[in-house]
């Protein structure tokens, strides 16, 4: 339930994405402008994917992270500090598995085509 009216933030984003996409495909802009529009489109798509699944991904990784560090509250800052302080060995399998999952989830939002 939301107190805000439709269009939802996702629907608003989709309208802007469609607009920018149409501008790129039209013949009305020079190549350098199209290149800038392409960056705008990429950024909007990142935001759209994060709006759609970001919370769910964040919750999942926070839970896995807590298990990894053996503490109730997890943060990226905490994990970085533990690696720097060598509380984890650089060959620790659980750490490597967690960080691999983390990067997989991040790349799905930032650039899903990048993954092999």
């Amino acid at each position: 339930m939301s107190v805000f009216d439709r269009p939802t933030s996702k629907e608003l984003l989709e309208a802007v994405i469609d607009f920018v996409d149409a501008e790129i495909k039209s013949d009305s802009h020079p190549a350098n402008k199209k290149f800038k529009f392409q960056i705008v489109l990429n950024v909007l798509n990142i935001v759209k994917r994060e709006v759609e699944t970001g919370k769910e991904v964040n919750d999942k990784l926070t839970k896995l992270g807590s298990k990894l560090i053996g503490e109730d509250s997890f943060s990226i800052e905490k994990l970085s500090k533990k690696i720097r302080d060598e509380e984890f060995n650089h060959e620790d399998k659980d750490l490597i598995d967690f960080l691999y999952d983390l990067t997989e989830e991040k790349i799905k939002i930032d650039n899903p085509k990048y993954k092999l």
Partner: protein, 320 residues
Amino acid sequence: MSVFQEFLENSLQQKIKQLIPLTGGASADINRIILANEDELIVRRTLSQEKSVMAIPKILEAKIQKVVKKNGAPVPAIIFEFSEGKEIGEGYVMEAIPGETIPRKILRDEKFAAAREKLPFEIGRSLAKIHQTQLDDLKALDQVTFSDSLEKLFQVYLSFNQPQPVFDLAFKWLEAQKLTEYGDVLVHGDFRFGNFIISEENLESIIDWELAHIGNPMEDLGWLCVRSWRFGNVEKRVGGLGDIKDLIAGYESNSDIKIDESQLDIWQLYGSLRWGVICMMQTFAHLSGMVNSLEKAAIGRRVSETEFDLMNMIKHKNFL
């Protein structure tokens, strides 16, 4: 006419028809000079009086190109150097080598098909030549060891105060590696597509020497193999173009150094980490308010690409 154009005309003793700005290195203002007789030259200069954190002075860049060229490696000939006031700056004029530098065109256009076949070997062969440059005339260059580079990169990373656990793991992983010493060589420092001028026949020239230093030869080879320069051709480790075996064969055909692939893996991993930190550097230039740039804001979300590459290398030993 601008003061700069007037200065160039007086120095060259020729009229200039047009000065065309080119995009270039982080600390260089680059222009193509079209002379009245249609001949072309390139001028690279820096206007800032402040010493760049990363780039070497332009006068030193010119000196390296002269020394490297004398040794037979493909670089543009230097016409003249200058060191003037703030309106003109410090820089040099060099010959304009015809050819293409844009990686996507080199990788995809049909007219480069024949050149593509031999490029990994030829690039390796030319790099070996560069690495054999006598260092006596280049004493002004910094000597940088692997641990110096790693420490400097770590300090830059820390300065953003944005923890990236994957980077922290990569720093620890790299600290634990045993590096082979091959003896000091001239390292180009940004040896990748974008800085190669390619004709339909072959590699014509290697440009953009602003990150040159003295160090380990594997740094240039590893940087060339970083996945970020493959432009979609992921399975081709050498710049999205060819196999590592051809690069090594080209290098070894012209050098006494025998390349151990596991050393190249380490330097490739270092290269991905370095590119990740450079992406952060760019995005924090925007976030700090120093510049307001869509491109710089967007590049912050490319850090995850380098993290993905790092974890593939660390977890799966996958360097493709």
